[in-house]
Symmetry: C2
Subunit: 210 residues, 2 copies
Amino acid sequence: MVPTLLASAYEISEKSALTRILAEAEVLFAERGFDGVSINEVALAAGVCKANVFHHFATKQELYERVLAHACDAFGRSLDALELKEQDLAGRLWRLMEWHNAFLYQRPHGTRLILRELTGSPTVLERSPVFPLIQRNFDRIVGLLNEVADKLREGISPALVAKVVLSLNLFGFQTERLNEKLMVAGSLATRPELQRQWLDLLLHGIEAPN
Amino acid sequence: MVPTLLASAYEISEKSALTRILAEAEVLFAERGFDGVSINEVALAAGVCKANVFHHFATKQELYERVLAHACDAFGRSLDALELKEQDLAGRLWRLMEWHNAFLYQRPHGTRLILRELTGSPTVLERSPVFPLIQRNFDRIVGLLNEVADKLREGISPALVAKVVLSLNLFGFQTERLNEKLMVAGSLATRPELQRQWLDLLLHGIEAPN
DNA sequence: ATGCTCACCAACCGATCGGTCAGTAAGCGC
DNA sequence: GCGCTTACTGACCGATCGGTTGGTGAGCAT
């Protein structure tokens, strides 16, 4: 980027090349995965030449990991803003689901990126540098539920509840576009209603009282 | 493969080249995805040369889709053997979870393959030729739960229950190897116990009676 | 024996991959 | 003015990609 006097008014409002590379890489990697995207594609999308990408990042792998780390970081920073004090079990669960769901749809690319990482072979993920970041975020969520652990039925641990909530949200996010087509024998509600059904299911189970 | 008289006794017990290509391709595609695997790698793993792979499959894409279709087919054939007659809601749910979980771990590569497909961008999946196969299998499972729909609480549909069961199993399968490492604030049980906890949670909810 | 099909392979093709290199131009402390 | 760093580029590199071609040899029907 060349901030001449004439162009500066326009250029200043633009992001820097580095920022654009990271942003475009996130979208591309999320859509097609590490091996499905070439550095040249990223460079073209960011409006720079390929060599410039290698100026900012030593290798393709390094770029990929920076993008991943940024996505995990965004998750953690959003989690900071989640306030659950003075909430009972149902309140916490509802707020947690609402926050998580909102985050997923606000950052679909980052979400898909992490999901992709989670879908690879587990042995690879275990050695991945993003693994501790994912671990830390998960532990924080478990911690939020730990404070109301005494309200849970015996044998139901906060970690179990956290995993169930995240599973449902992530799976729901990933298959939302499929719901309309996926249903011949049955039908599913749309997102806000579905979320309410999940909470209801979590709190009271599925069985009809007799 | 050249079945000479001397080698025939050994060769006959071996699979054909075509079968080996499909089998090795499934493992490799499951571990590294479509773009992460080259035809040469598949050929080497199957013990044939690259051109031979293109003799059996016109393009890399065709090989990939054959492998995917085979994985979906295996799911359907396993589902055929699932017998749920004369089971009440809890019984059906338990058998369904048990069957699904067993299938996932019996065919981890096929499972990871489908999971990978599910993790890609939804617009791509919608146009994928495996989409109707996935759809059909899902509908069959919903159908199994439809027969006990009257035992469900109001507002809880069979499709919802099916999706929750599949979500939990798939997510559990995918993150099993991570459980031990993922837990600082809490801990999760191992597979059979975890499955029992899920069923308990589904039937009765998480909230302690007061 | 001849002719055809099928399974298989070595060698090759153009394109693209990740990555390097030499060089240019701007900003900045001195 | 003068170095030094930083951002950036076009041209290039060897390797590998998906895919093709020409050909060999076994099995089999006629």
